[in-house]
């Protein structure tokens, strides 16, 4: 639950904006990071930007998430089969 996802701010008016990660878009509030600008990449947790991150770090996390999503799709059903076997 404390997981935060990096996303790029693509719209911003005062402390409310929209962020994009891998094509997914969310409303975001930047109240906790007042200096953030459009184009910055931030870590978003429960709708709030909590830290800025650089492109390289964000890319690593996006890659990891893509891997996890893929892994979970393949592994969870397997675990269940094993359980019922």
């Amino acid at each position: 639950m404390c997981l935060a996802v990096p996303a790029r701010i693509i719209e911003l008016t005062e402390d409310r904006g929209v962020a994009d990660a891998m094509g997914n878009r969310w409303p975001v509030r930047t109240t906790l990071l007042p200096d953030v600008r459009i184009g910055d990449i931030v870590l978003i947790h429960a709708g709030f930007a909590i830290a800025t991150v650089d492109e390289e770090e964000a890319r690593k996390t996006w890659d990891l998430f893509a891997e996890i999503a893929d892994f979970q799709e393949r592994q969870i059903p397997l675990a269940k089969e094993e359980e019922s076997a």
């Binding site: 429960a46 094993e82 359980e83």
Partner: protein, 361 residues
């Protein structure tokens, strides 16, 4: 390059373990680390003398059972709307869960902001925001209260179960039976509190506190750093997650927490009341406090009978040592929160355990 880093970390772990010549217990205090560790199979890459314990790092799991009952009581009222993060709806209380209750006044929200909007849209109802989480989540609740205050909303309140990580670490180490040699500290909580927040743990208890991110290699390097510090008998605060964690953290977020909340000795599942380990609204904001508004007492609840989540959370047992694990209790039919939450230790063991570990039953 990555393989070099893996080999290097493993070698450092082996060297330290050889020098130590004793078992080492490292506790991770972050549900996301728990999942990352299981998924990546890190446990099986470690020498058998290095054991990883999953601590009280998942906010859903550490929430006292009495809190769930209070939320359910509020959800049963016709004058309330309950706004909650999705993680909470399947957690069983003494009379089922919010999900099995199936009431139209339970709303799943993605952000505390959505809960404030809900209050604006439903002026005739009182919206109760189910405010759970550690320091990563608390600033969002503080902003919600601030927003409600600015908008003069008098139908918005929160039921706080917010918790602080460092007091929990100190409480665990204060127990003379604890087996914890070091902490792998949570990445995103540290973004808010800063790595220096762990300094009292190192100074008071002489245990290494190493902050790591969620990439498996960084977790492994964190374990290597911990083993080295233990072998050298030089416990320190170290952060490997410098891409986002600073020594002092997000000071604006922390300031918001301090503006609206005060620490008190509130109940945790399995750990009892931890000195200054929970957060409640300050008296000057009590109009936003659901306890005050509805005259509710904070009475600690009972764990579901037979569920050993409390002992799991303290690192005293591994989930398979619970008699319900995998039989009565599965992710589809969870008995305790550690099986409900995807970040819970029981759920991680169930999904990945057999493959990901050599520390099985």
């Amino acid at each position: 390059m990555m393989l070099d880093r893996v080999d290097d970390a493993r070698k450092r772990i082996q060297d330290a373990v050889a020098a130590l010549a004793r078992p080492v217990n490292i506790m991770e205090v972050c549900g996301t680390h728990t999942v990352a560790i299981f998924r990546s199979g890190i446990r099986s890459a470690l020498p058998s003398s290095v054991k990883l314990l999953s601590g009280p790092g998942c906010p859903v799991c550490v929430t006292d059972p009495g809190y769930i009952d209070r939320v359910m009581d509020l959800a049963a009222r016709d004058d309330c709307l309950v706004a909650t993060y999705g993680d909470m709806i399947r957690v069983p209380g003494k009379n089922g869960s919010l999900e099995t209750m199936n009431r139209s006044n339970v709303h799943v929200v993605l952000s505390s902001d959505d809960a404030v909007h809900l209050a604006r849209e439903h002026p005739k109802k009182t919206v109760v925001f189910v405010a759970v989480g550690f320091e990563t989540t608390t600033p969002a609740t503080a902003v919600a209260v601030m927003t409600a205050e600015k908008m003069n909303l008098n139908n918005f309140c929160i039921l706080s179960a917010h918790k602080l990580v460092v007091p929990a670490m100190q409480a665990l180490l204060s127990d003379p039976n604890n087996k914890i040699d070091a902490f792998l500290c949570p990445g995103h909580v540290s973004v808010i509190i800063g790595s220096e927040a762990y300094r009292p743990v190192v100074e008071q208890f002489r245990r290494p506190c190493v902050v790591a991110g969620f990439e498996p290699i960084q977790v492994l390097e964190g374990i290597a750093e911990i083993c080295r510090q233990l072998a050298d008998e030089l416990p320190q605060v170290t952060s490997l997650y410098n891409a986002v964690v600073t020594p002092r953290g997000n000071t604006r977020a922390w300031k918001l927490i301090e503006t609206y909340f005060e620490p008190y000795d509130g109940p945790w599942r399995g750990l009892g009341c931890i000195p200054r380990g929970s957060l409640r609204l300050k008296p000057c904001y009590e109009r936003f406090d659901a306890l005050v508004r509805f005259g509710i007492e904070e009475i600690p609840g009972q764990e579901p009978e037979g569920c050993l989540c409390g002992r799991v959370l303290c690192g005293l047992i591994d989930p398979p040592q619970c008699g319900f694990f995998g039989s009565v209790c599965t992710p589809d039919t969870p008995v305790g929160p550690c099986m409900v939450s995807s970040e819970g230790a029981c759920s991680a063991w169930y999904k990945y355990g057999r493959r990901g570990t050599i520390h099985g039953k």
